[in-house]
Each structure stands twice: as structure tokens, then as C-alpha cells.
Amino acid sequence: MNGAKPVALTIDGRKVVADEGTNILEAAAMAGVDIPHFCYHPGLQVEGSCRMCLVEIEGLPKLELSCSTPVREGQIVRTASDRVRQARRDVLEFLLAEHPLDCPICDKAGECRLQDYYDLHGGFPGRMSEPRRRRAKKVPIGRGLILDRERCILCTRCVRFLRQVTGTGELGVFERGLGTEIGICEEAPVANGYSGNLVDICPVGAITAEDFRFKTRAWFLDRKPSVCPHCSRGCAVVVESVKGYPLSKGERRVYRITAGEAPAVNGFWICDLGRDGRHEIDEGRQTRILKGGEPAAGLFWPQAVAEIASMIRSLPGPDRDGRITVVLNSRLTCEELALAKALFATGLGLDRISFADPRPGPSDDLLLTAERAPNGRGVLEAGFAPRLPLLHELATSKVALIFGTGLAAHFPEEAVAGALAEIPFKVLFEAHAMPYDRLADLVIPVAVPAEKSGTYVNIDGLRQSFGRAVEPGPGIVPEGQILIALARRLGCDPGGSDGR
């Protein structure tokens, strides 16, 4: 596929073929042999310091690092011999000798490599009777990250990430021997837009995020993949929510968003903007249908759609255009955009279809794009020629169907409110409550991307399909479902999936 020469070797008696240049650790993983490791990370340069991944290679006297030794033709590797097991036990014993064993209050418990490996490869009783060195347990290192030096095993993944990936180098290794510790350089704390990855890559509970500390336990979380909707990169993310939602008021549903792996898109990292996307899933949501600005008890979305349909039908066919305005956005999935195209452009023959997205923001050289919506390419692919709505034009509509909250990003609140006030019948399809909601005839709560399945086309033209990562709350539906229902009511069945 990539033109690399295949190399055949034997790992624990299994024949393995790997590309030339692959290290033994990765080759073993491909063959289903998991070699334990702390410092190795496929997205970072090899450090070789934790000494956990040592394996036996026939013909070599010492145990060798599987993370840095490339595969060779005919190599015979043993990852579970007595010597290897003993070396692993020794490393674990050393690490645990200086470890506080505060797993009961550690946020990493349940997803900690030290814990998991002791379970798999350790199992010895504690033999350290000397006093353990006490270290600082709550060092703020910037961006809401907290460093616990007692838990730190000095894998230096954090240091290497900041040097090799972001190039910002805020963390360094200080002192030496047992006094070695991670710290910020020159009182300049971590201050880059990718800081959350430090928590993801920390193999133990040494770096935790204030946002997550002491909030829940790892084993309560349901992890589902999704695609980040906060810029046009389309990074793979994992949405981690508590099972059994809905919970009582005040509790979180999505506890965090972590980086997913997508070699061709984001590798192993996501930016903090995407990570902070957890807030928009749970906070400020529009949860009820509003009618005339008031919660409409007993009104469910299918009835609301029926109302919209009859309002549209009441406008005479030939000059519907100019009387109906539709505002879409680039957060809609390709499937939803196709439905919208079929219904509004083809079916109803509307011309006034515009797009309101978040304003572009600063981009960086790593992942973040200026565009702050995930599916700008999808909009083009669906055959739309996106343009911003004109408020004065909007104000002349008889019916306005406004999807999303992008208007607020482009126009002052009073201007939006002023335009809405002119329109006899206006419907807002919103995931989040807006100040001008009370002016709308109907506000229908819709799903955020994490609550949908569908497809986005990223900035490089890559189509990425994703499934629903969290269940939407009661009464909240994806726009696709609404579009299908509306189309049926209006007698133009667009077919397709509704993104459930």
C-alpha cells in the first residue's frame, strides 16, 4: 500500500508480517500481542526510558526495547518469557515503590496504565518498607491542568508532546535521580490550544483537568466516537457520557470529550476548542418547544411540523419564493443537507436559501481551521451556493424557517429581533436557547452533532460518517427527522435517512 518492504518475523510463535521500519511493539500489536509500555506513544518520538516494553530477541544477550527496535527479517521475538516477565515486574515494582497508591481518589483509576499493568503483569506484594518521597500533589501548570508529582512516572510524554507536537515547550524535566520532576519552564505555564491532550496521553493520574477532577469515575463513562463539529478539520473525538441519562437536574451528561484516533485527519490529538465542545452538548440547550415564546405543554414536534406545513401550504404555489426564507447552516450533515435541498430547492422551488454559520476564527498550523463549522464542503457538495442571509430581505418574508443560531454571530441581537418581528410566521430550529426566541412563533429544539449520526466532509474533502454518540433528550430530534416529516406533510417525499 505505502510501498514499504514487508518483513516477516515471529512474535511469541506467531508469524507476523510488518512493513520495514515498523517497531516490534507496533508489529506485535498488529498480531494481537499487547506489549505493555508507558513512555512510548505512536505520535511522539521514542524515549525508551520507562523500560516496560523490553522483549527478548533471539541472538541478543540483553532484553531490547520493543518501542525502538525495528522489525528484521527472520527475527524471533519473545514477549512473555520468564526474563521478560521478570523485567516487567521489576519495572512495576520500582514505579509502585514511589507511587502514592491513591487510586481511590485518583481520576485516572480505571483507565490507568500502572493499574492495568499491575493487574496483568504484576500481582506481587509490596516490598518497599522504606519511606516514599513526598512530592507536590496539586501543582497548577496552566490551562486548568493539575500536576500530581507523586503519581508521575516520568514517561515525559507531556514534555515531548509540547516540544514535538505544539512546539511550545512549556514543560520540562528538572532535577535528577529520584528528585527528577516535571515542571513548567521559567514560570511560564502551559498556554497553548492543545493542552487537553496532556491529560489524554498521561498514562497515569499525574496530569488531570480541573474540568474533570473528582467529577465522576472512568468506569461510569460510556465512550462513543463522533466527529468534532467545531471547525472544518473533522477530528475524530470520543464523547464520554454517563450511562443512563437523563439524570436529575444539575448533573453532567457528557463529562468530557477526548481525542479519537484518525491517522489521516488528526492523528492522536484534538484542540482545546473541540474538547471544550462538551459544554455545548449539555449547556444552554433548548429543551422544549416554545410557542409564542412560551413553553407549549402538550405540543410535540410532529404537530409543530404539521403547523409549519399548513402555513407553507397556505401560501400560493407559484410565488412561494420571496415569501418563504430558509436559513440553513454548515453543521447540518450531508444527509440533512440533501433532504433540505430536495425539500426546499427542488420540492418547493425556493430561491431564498441562505446559510448562517459561526464566524471564522484564528486557525493554526496543527489542526484548527478558520472555518468554525464542520461541513462547509458538504454544503457545496449538496449543490448549494451558500451566502449569508440579508436581514432586510429576511424581514420581508411571510414564513421564515431558521435552522441554527448562526444569525447571532453575524448581526446584532436587536437587528435580528427587529427582522424577526416583521415576519408573520417564523420558526427557529435550535439546539441552544437564544435571546430572541420569545419573538418566534415556534421554537423547535434540535440535536447537536454528537446526538446525530451522519456524514461530514472535512476541509480536505474527506467524507467521514459517524454514529450517534449520546442520546438526545426527550423531545429533541435531529433536523433530518424534521425535514423528512415536513417533506411528507408537504407531499414531496425526499426519501433518505433522517439521521436518527
Partner: protein, 415 residues
């Protein structure tokens, strides 16, 4: 004593100067190499001399030079390891004090042989006088045309920079030395790639010990065969043996490789002081496993000492007298490695400190055979499991002290 092949002179105020060095035939070998020999012939001569690395690992210098690829574009570097940090070792200091030009001449020859245009001398931070003297010697050599551009009228040039370290044992490890030279934290790199291909500033690099390079001029002057004849066929030349501890005449002795340890300790250094006897001898710097008095009839060459379960290392001989408790030796040894572990590899970082904690407790409160077993087991967890040789260097002498003096230690800790 054999005649002084390394031309070590008493360190009077003038002997180190260029003038004095030239009077002893200085820079003749470099002139011969640069003006009459091809670079390949120079490397070949050193390889034939079987000059093994004097820093401690004993790797043949000529073979090491041969690993550097020829005909590549881009810079190559020569690094002189003058970070003499191994406890019990002070022979490079002697060379640097008395014969800095001999080192510089060796560097010119090495650089010419490998095709190198710039060199660094990484000198340990504690050697402040030496760093100054080196800079002065470089100035003299440069003014006289032995360094700088167009040496001996050829198109070969060499610039030498002195770089003082900051007091870390680990920076004597070659890849940590490179990291430190590059301005980073001195910690070992993963090998491969080896410095000969990817070294200083990612370029091919030769790293040699001071004594190794200072031995080079005489090989060029008198030939590989002569040099080999002064030592052993598999380990040529003479070596500087630094003897310290319980002897009448501590100092640096230049003797043929293969001289017996007993001869060096008892004849050259005069044996233990009046009324004392020898309890133990560390033959090659603190990292070399200790020998008991009955083991001293061993030839001081890399292979013979390896066979005896120790190592020649830096040839720094430490003699322990009968009045020194082995528990104290164990304590200072454990303390040194715990203090000097760079902290990169888990086993060394935590293992050396754990051992120290146990030994300190034994010293303070006493203990039992279990504690000695624990020390041996912890040393076993370090040895062979680290990136650099410091892990072995810490584990092996500690294990040897406990196993070879178990009786005394058991008695000392039982209270």
C-alpha cells in the same frame, strides 16, 4: 617502570606549554599524518595498533573511526570526552594538566583521518584550571598553525572549542555528553543510531576519551606494531593507572596494558601503609566490581578483567584497607549512584535510591540477611535494563560488594 610513552612530565609551570611540547617532538606525528598519509591510512594505522578506548568501554578507536561514513556532505564532529567523572579516576586530568598539546595533536590526527573540521572538548565543570589551560594551549597551537585553517599548508583545518560541563556524572556517557553539548539536559539517547552516524547536531560524530586521543600521536610516530608490542595483541599500548586509597604512593602510573593488578598496587604504588593490609580493590573506577585481596593476580586488560568478573573501565584503582568497613564502602557507592542517576530510566532512577535507602537504614539501625538479599535483588532489577551503562555501573559494584563481603556485612548489620 617503562619509558614514558605518553610523555607525561611533572606538571611544572612550563611543561604543558607548546614550546616544551615541541622540544619533545610534539606535532611531528600530526605533520607526518597530514602531509604524508592518506586519511584512510591514518585510520588503518590506529586500527592496527588496537588502541582500545581509555574511557572505560574499551572499544577499539580505529574501528570506531571507521564507522563514520566517508564522502557525505555536511559536517562531522569530533568530541573529546574530558568529563572524567568516574570515582577513583584522575588520569585524564593528568594528561590535560601536563600535556594538553598531546591531546590536541591526537585530535588533529583523528580529525584528519575521519575528515572532521570541528571539534569540542567537553571538560568536566570541576576542571576549571584545565579548561583555562586548554584554551591557552588551543591559542598557542592556533597561532603556530597546528590548529585552524590549512594545517601544515594542507587544505585540512580544524577548529577546537572547549565546553565545560556543569557537574553531572551522566554527561560522561557519550550520548548524554552530546545532549549536554547541544544545550539540552544531559541524558542518554536511545541507541541505535550510534553517534558515528547520528551524533552531535544529528551529524556523524567521533567521541573519544582524552587518554585515547593522547595515545594517538605516538602510534603515528612509532607505528602500530611498536604500540601493540607495548601492550597486548588484543589490547595495545600502555595505560595510565590511577591508584588511590590505602597505598603508600597514590598517583598516576603509566604501565603496559596487561600488567598485573598486584604489581601496580604493591610495587608501583608501594602497597598498603605500614601496619595495614588490603581488604578490597576496585580495579577500574567505582563501577568496576570489587576484587578481594586473593584476586589481585589479574592482568589489567579489558578481556582478563571481564573474565575475572570485573572490568578495566577507566583503570582507576581504589584500594580499600582492612580498617575501612565494607558497609561504609557500600554506603558511599550507593550514595554516589543515587545522586548521579540522571533519572531517565525507571530502574536506575528508583532502584539506585531504593538501594541507598536500604543501606542507610542498615547503617543507622542495622538489619538482617534479608536486607542484603533485597539489595542484590534490586541491583538485579537495574542491571541490563537501562539505556546507558550507568545502570550496570551502579548495579554490578553494589552486587559485588554484597556478595563478596557478605560475611562482614551480615556481622555489621546484625545488632
Amino acid at each position: 617502570m617503562v619509558d614514558n610513552g605518553l610523555a607525561l612530565l611533572p606538571s611544572d609551570d612550563r611543561a604543558w606549554r607548546l614550546e616544551a611540547y615541541l622540544a619533545r617532538g610534539g606535532y611531528d606525528a600530526a605533520r607526518k599524518a597530514v602531509t604524508t598519509m592518506t586519511p584512510e591510512a591514518v585510520v588503518c594505522e590506529i586500527r592496527d595498533a588496537v588502541l582500545r578506548g581509555r574511557g572505560g568501554a574499551g572499544f577499539p578507536a580505529g574501528v570506531k573511526w571507521g564507522f563514520v561514513p566517508r564522502g557525505l556532505a555536511g559536517p562531522k564532529y569530533l568530541c573529546v570526552n574530558a568529563d572524567e567523572g568516574e570515582p577513583g579516576t584522575f588520569k585524564d586530568r593528568h594528561v590535560l594538566c601536563c600535556a594538553p598539546h598531546q591531546l590536541l595533536e591526537g585530535m588533529v590526527i583523528a580529525a584528519y583521518g575521519v575528515g572532521i573540521g570541528s571539534a569540542y572538548i567537553y571538560v568536566r565543570g570541576e576542571y576549571a584550571l584545565i579548561a583555562d589551560r586548554l584554551r591557552a594551549a588551543i591559542g598557542e597551537a592556533r597561532s603556530a598553525g597546528y590548529l585552524g585553517p590549512d594545517i601544515f599548508g594542507s587544505d585540512f583545518g580544524l577548529e577546537v572549542t572547549v565546553h565545560p560541563g556543569a557537574g553531572a556524572y551522566i554527561c560522561g556517557e557519550e550520548t548524554a555528553l552530546l545532549e549536554s553539548l547541544e544545550g539540552r539536559r544531559g541524558q542518554p539517547r536511545v541507541k541505535p543510531p550510534f553517534p558515528a552516524t547520528v551524533g552531535l547536531f544529528r551529524s556523524p560524530t567521533v567521541i573519544n576519551n582524552v587518554e585515547t586521543l593522547a595515545s594517538v600521536p605516538q602510534i603515528l610516530a612509532r607505528g602500530a606494531e611498536w604500540f601493540r608490542g607495548r601492550g597486548l595483541p588484543q589490547d595495545g599500548g600502555t595505560r595510565l593507572f590511577g591508584v588511590s586509597g590505602a597505598v603508600r604512593h597514590p598517583g598516576v602510573y603509566e604501565l603496559p596494558v596487561g600488567t598485573s593488578l598486584r604489581t601496580i598496587v604493591e610495587i608501583s604504588a608501594g602497597g598498603p601503609p605500614e601496619g595495614r593490609s588490603i581488604k578490597a580493590v576496585v580495579p577500574g573506577g567505582l563501577s568496576a566490581p570489587v576484587l578481594r585481596p586473593e584476586e589481585l593476580d589479574v592482568a589489567m586488560d579489558f578481556d582478563a578483567l571481564a573474565k575475572a568478573g570485573s572490568m578495566l573501565g577507566s583503570a582507576g584503582i581504589i584500594v580499600v584497607s582492612d580498617e575501612t568497613p565494607i558497609l561504609d564502602v557500600l554506603l558511599v557507592t550507593a550514595r554516589f549512584y543515587a545522586h548521579e542517576s540522571c533519572g531517565k530510566c525507571t530502574p536506575c532512577r528508583i532502584g539506585t535510591s531504593w538501594i541507598l535507602k536500604v543501606v542507610e537504614r542498615l547503617k543507622r539501625l542495622g538489619g538482617g540477611p534479608d536486607d542484603l538479599d533485597l539489595i542484590v535483588r534490586l541491583a538485579g532489577g537495574i542491571s541490563g535494563r537501562t539505556l546507558c551503562p550507568l545502570g550496570d555501573g551502579a548495579a554490578l559494584p553494589i552486587r559485588a560488594l554484597v556478595s563478596k563481603f557478605r560475611g562482614e556485612l551480615e556481622q555489621a548489620v546484625t545488632r
